[in-house]
Symmetry: C2
Subunit: 277 residues, 2 copies
């Protein structure tokens, strides 16, 4: 295992030029100023960049002139570049001796399919590293000014997805839909009715406040506050779709279990109330 | 609810000067180049900064000359400044018309006690916002090059803590210690024996691989790979303490449930094997 002691390691070492290197870089949730300095520096030394649909095109301004930026167009339900093709492309570029940046929205370690790219790289003996980014849950919490944890109310955060590998059995939500938990669902906008049904079966009050934050940290950001039972129809009516996160603050049990939202959500929440960005 | 449409909102509006503003800013996990550009810009317009022990002192280089940087010294188990005092100090400064930055390590929305500061600010009618940061779990995953999710192996991430409000009943780990889950514990190094006991009682194999990442993204970063049953004694022997995160990849059930680690942890893990940063 390697520990990056020094960010300067990311500046290509001439000795490793022969084989190249792959950096999986988190572009953060959307706005280019939510990228880290290290991510920006890494873009500045890239020989080629492969980027997703959700990456802010402004981020590519940090790439040196003449460097190819390849759009791999991955998005939920529309993989114009299947994962295997992405794996093959980044590995081929690194084998040519290039410093390859695989630019992913959010944090590469969270629902970013980074493991598959790491496995492909290592199979060819290519060095790979990860530059972390701000994940959508953190960005949504910041935009809403509603922290993911509130001492005494919620003391754990579950980042879950409704989009699994085809054929996989989805996780049982009864385990995680517990008082004291903030649930954040990624890539779940196409499964809202099923998600609602599962959460209610898991014991969550149909009146539980829910916030849907779409296009977080982008100019077209929108947030919808509603109740669990109305979530699917309210989102459809408002035209909200991926990319979005769905946030439920399941408060620790009080006299009226699961009826209260988080401390940060003390303001009354009207069903279907929403704000455009 | 407000959506930040434009980062330029963070540059103080002259009209709001009368009352000041509080920004809860994520400094990221340690290395100053893992801060976001927005966080750095926010430091550059601050009139006063209140910062935690875990914030890299280099971050304060972005503050304008002459601006007071107040060390509030909060750390696990040693609150030199109790939370109430921090709340009172940031509110008092904002009431003087100052642009207050409350600089927190990691992401302010995750175990950052941001809710208490937001409540205190709003009680005085002070505007407050959050600049998100890279949380320790993401930084540890990046440093270890082991993503928090691996398609088909782990499809949810639980961020939990072993440090709750005094008197609070700790969460039941049996709910969350499930196949298909990556568990990340924050601020748990003083409860390792209890945590091990709870996880084993929840059905986790005592041989489950565990990684402890301490001082992530700092020059003194260290990682320890071991097995659950040996975690407490190995950490004691290696002298590992907070700040650290404890990571367990509980793979989806295969023929031998809970026996395998994540795809990213395929390499054999020797008990007590560890690397210094």
């Amino acid at each position: 295992m390697s520990i990056h002691e020094n960010p300067s390691q990311l500046v290509p070492d001439p000795r490793s030029r022969a084989k190249g290197r792959i950096s999986l870089v988190g572009a953060g949730p959307g706005a280019v100023d939510l990228m880290t300095v290290r991510a920006i520096r890494c873009l500045g030394v890239a020989d080629v960049v492969f980027y997703d649909r959700l990456v802010d095109p402004e981020a590519l301004a940090f790439v040196r002139p003449g460097v190819a930026c390849v759009f791999v167009g991955k998005e939920v339900g529309d993989h114009s570049w299947p994962q295997d093709r992405i794996n093959a492309a980044i590995v081929a570029a690194a084998l040519q001796g290039k410093q390859v940046v695989r630019l992913k929205s959010g944090d590469p370690s969270i629902f970013g399919r980074a493991s598959e790219e790491i496995t492909a790289a290592r199979a060819q003996g290519i060095e790979v590293d990860i530059i972390p980014g701000v994940t959508a849950a953190s960005a949504a919490a910041a935009t809403l000014c509603e922290p993911l944890t509130s001492r005494g109310v919620t003391d754990r955060v579950v980042l879950a997805t409704a989009t699994c590998r085809p054929g996989d059995v989805p996780s049982d939500l009864a385990d995680i839909a517990r008082p004291g938990t903030t649930l954040v669902f990624y890539m779940a906008m196409q499964q809202l009715a099923g998600l609602t049904r599962q959460l209610v079966m898991a014991g969550v009050d149909p009146d539980q406040p829910v916030t849907i934050a779409a296009n977080v940290a982008r100019p077209n950001a929108r947030a919808l506050r509603t109740r669990l039972a109305r979530m699917a129809c309210d989102c459809a009516e408002a035209g909200l779709a991926n990319p979005a996160v769905i946030i439920l603050h399941l408060a620790k049990r009080t006299e009226n279990p699961l009826r209260s939202g988080s401390a940060a959500a003390q303001a009354p929440v009207a069903a279907g109330d929403w704000d455009a960005g």
